[in-house]
């Protein structure tokens, strides 16, 4: 019965094939799409989504969802921005722990609401999506953190590179993906997250502390969103209370669902998610090259999510059918 495994294996191969076909098709019209330069463009588009997707993947695998990721990104970025503005002499790297801790605190808020009050995470995070965004406005007095405030070293991370001319920000994103892989695949925590999402009722029977693992997942999602927040400041050089991170959650969900992470929990790989992110990056980079207006992007994301849901379901159904007799 390797049939099912081959489907899941094929899921990643499938995305890879889709990426290749897509790139070739675009390259046929616009040969410049198949150059190193355009790989750089694609990669530079993806770091934030990559990190957010890792966060969302962990949450979905645990059979939850976090819609507040974009707002947590915005809030953390704003906290860091305010810090740079109010304490101009502070060492710029301090921003990283501050952003990550801020995000973690917000994630903890989500986690506590979900675990203490036993509320569905989707509604909780719909609420905190709005709440955290509002708090971002309040702490910033609804003002943008301007370019001049963001330390030059931080901004430089988006274009300078320690190695192979790959900018820091891309390395960080892939580093996070690698770390997520290690956590998901090679630590007890990761396996417990998968177990929890795979069968929440069985989890306590196997000694899994459901509350603790759930909290950790939401805190991690927050922390990663916080990291994405400071990288936002690096990439775009400003922090805006209303734009920064707005709609981010939807891009991230699209990437993750394309990557084969199941909304029913327990299923999802870092590799698939990375490929999902790259596919979205390719689409985003190809549209302007082909002269297709950017306004089609959301419709494409939406359609892709719906299709991915249907694929997810048919895979599951075949799984059930094959379960009757082996």
């Amino acid at each position: 019965m390797t049939f099912l495994r081959s489907i899941f294996a094929r899921r990643e191969a499938g995305i890879l094939v889709m990426i290749v076909i897509f790139c070739l098709a675009v390259g046929l019209h616009k040969p410049q799409f198949l150059t190193g330069q355009s790989l750089r463009i694609i990669l530079l588009l993806t770091p934030l989504i990559m990190i957010g997707a890792m966060a969302q993947m962990l949450v979905l695998v645990a059979r939850h969802v976090d819609l507040s990721i974009g707002s947590m990104l915005g809030f953390s970025a704003m906290v860091v921005g305010l810090m740079y503005r109010e304490l101009p002499d502070i060492y710029w790297l301090v921003g990283f722990p501050v952003a990550v801790l801020t995000g973690a605190a917000l994630g903890l808020g989500n986690g506590l609401l979900v675990t203490i009050f036993k509320l569905p995470s989707i509604i909780v995070t719909l609420g905190t999506l709005s709440l955290y965004r509002g708090l971002t406005f309040i702490i910033s007095d609804a003002r943008q953190i301007n370019r001049s405030v963001i330390p030059t070293e931080l901004k430089a991370m988006s274009r300078t590179s320690p190695i192979f001319e790959i900018p820091w920000i891309i390395l960080i994103a892939f580093g996070i993906a690698l770390m997520t892989y290690v956590v998901a695949r090679h630590t007890q925590l990761g396996r417990q997250i998968y177990a929890l999402g795979s069968n929440p009722d069985a989890a306590p029977l196997r000694g899994i502390d459901v509350t603790k693992v759930t909290l950790i997942v939401f805190v991690l999602a927050g922390a990663l969103s916080g990291l994405a927040g400071i990288l936002y400041a690096s990439r775009w050089g400003f922090v805006n209370p209303s734009n920064t991170g707005a709609g981010f959650e939807f891009q991230v969900i699209a990437a993750v669902v394309i990557g084969g992470v199941s909304i029913n929990g327990g299923v999802g790989t870092v590799m698939g998610t990375v490929l999902g992110v790259l596919l979205l990056g390719c689409v985003a980079a190809a549209l302007p090259l082909l002269g297709i207006p950017g306004s089609t992007q959301n419709a494409i994301y939406g359609a892709v999510i719906l299709i991915a849901l249907l694929i997810d379901r048919s895979v599951r159904q075949r799984g059930l059918a094959s379960m009757s007799r082996a």
Binding site: L119, I123, L126, G134, T296, A299, A303, I305
Partner: protein
């Protein structure tokens, strides 16, 4: 078989006192918040307490409130639809686009409504026929519908003809028409939910879908019907908004899904289905208008409103869960 007498029919479980039944319910909370909101807003700004102003402000959210009434039924039946606001925008864009392309107004309206119905059908197909969780499905359609609206309208606003503009300036006995429509829809849906078999069955499905199936209630048909109704009502609301604004853009009621869910939750509709009333949503719609208008007229930072919305949503869910847990022993 003995005839049951009063002495026999007592307390295996004593009933709660009737004041408890009447008062300890989420709508009471909504009503009290409404009263506090009114008092608070009046204290916050001397310009607030003016019936005409409040009515005028209500017209700004009347369309969303109408949709929230139908959404209440959907949530009571155990499903949810987060795509209604995007549906409003897409239906309105299609309507405006069709009439701008030269179709007569009535045709354009019909096309808009049909578009809404089609969107409802898609949601119903994905959630009921394919049995995917409606909450995830409608997040997908939320992005998809809004995206299509963007494809159709781009960034421009499409004008609607002068003759079609101004539904909010039509007064019925001194009350703007959208408010009247809201009240009428509330009464109709309240009657449907409270006094008809369909209404009863919506509660039964939401309480226990399996039991409903065993009692011969066709849960799927009713849920599909509700999604379709929500689709077409959202479209109608979108077209109403077009008439009020005189033009349509893809970003019509952007983020409105949060407010609609908030209205339902704040009115005591139980997120897991089976409980809730139209009265609750009706009161909550007014509560939201009063809170946001009160803050706006006091020139408070709009961000505070976002924060308050988020807190209200979370508190509303916790409070309803709590009240329901208490009243159910």
């Amino acid at each position: 078989m003995s005839v049951t007498t009063d002495s026999q029919s007592q307390e295996l479980a004593p009933s709660r006192p009737s004041w408890h039944v009447v008062l300890v319910r989420p709508e009471t909370m909504t009503f009290l918040l409404l009263v506090f909101g009114l008092i608070g807003a009046s204290l916050l700004s001397p310009f607030f307490l003016d019936v005409n102003y409040i009515l005028r402000s209500f017209t700004l959210t009347a369309e969303m409130s109408i949709v929230a009434l139908v959404l209440t039924l959907v949530v009571i039946s155990g499903e949810i639809d987060l795509s209604a606001a995007s549906n409003m925008a897409l239906s309105a864009c299609i309507f405006a686009w069709v009439q701008a392309a030269g179709a007569p107004l009535p045709i354009a309206v019909v096309v808009g409504l049909l578009a809404g119905l089609a969107m409802g059908t898609l949601n119903a197909f994905m959630s009921i026929r394919m049995q995917l969780p409606s909450i995830i499905v409608t997040i997908g359609t939320l992005i998809f519908f809004r995206g299509l609206a963007q494809v159709i309208a781009g960034d421009r606003s499409i004008r609607v003809p002068e003759s079609f503009i101004g539904i909010n300036t039509v007064m019925v006995a001194g009350v703007p028409l959208p408010v009247v429509i809201f009240v009428v829809v509330a009464i109709i849906l309240g009657l449907v939910l409270g006094t008809t078999v369909i209404g009863r069955q919506i509660y039964q499905i939401g309480t226990n879908q399996e039991a409903a199936l065993h009692a011969g209630i066709d849960a799927k048909r009713i849920k599909v019907g509700l999604f379709l109704l929500l689709g077409i009502v959202s479209a109608a609301a979108g077209i109403m908004a077009a008439s009020r604004l005189g033009s349509v853009r893809y970003d019509l009621v952007l983020g409105g899904e949060l407010q609609m869910v908030l209205m339902a939750m704040l009115g005591g509709t139980y997120i897991f289905g089976g409980r809730g009333t139209i009265l609750g949503t009706f009161l909550a719609a007014w509560l939201l208008v009063i809170v946001s208008t009160g803050m706006t007229v006091a020139n408070l930072l709009p961000a505070i409103q976002l924060t308050v919305l988020g807190i209200l949503l979370i508190v509303a869910i916790i409070a309803t869960n709590f009240i329901y847990a208490r009243t159910q022993r």
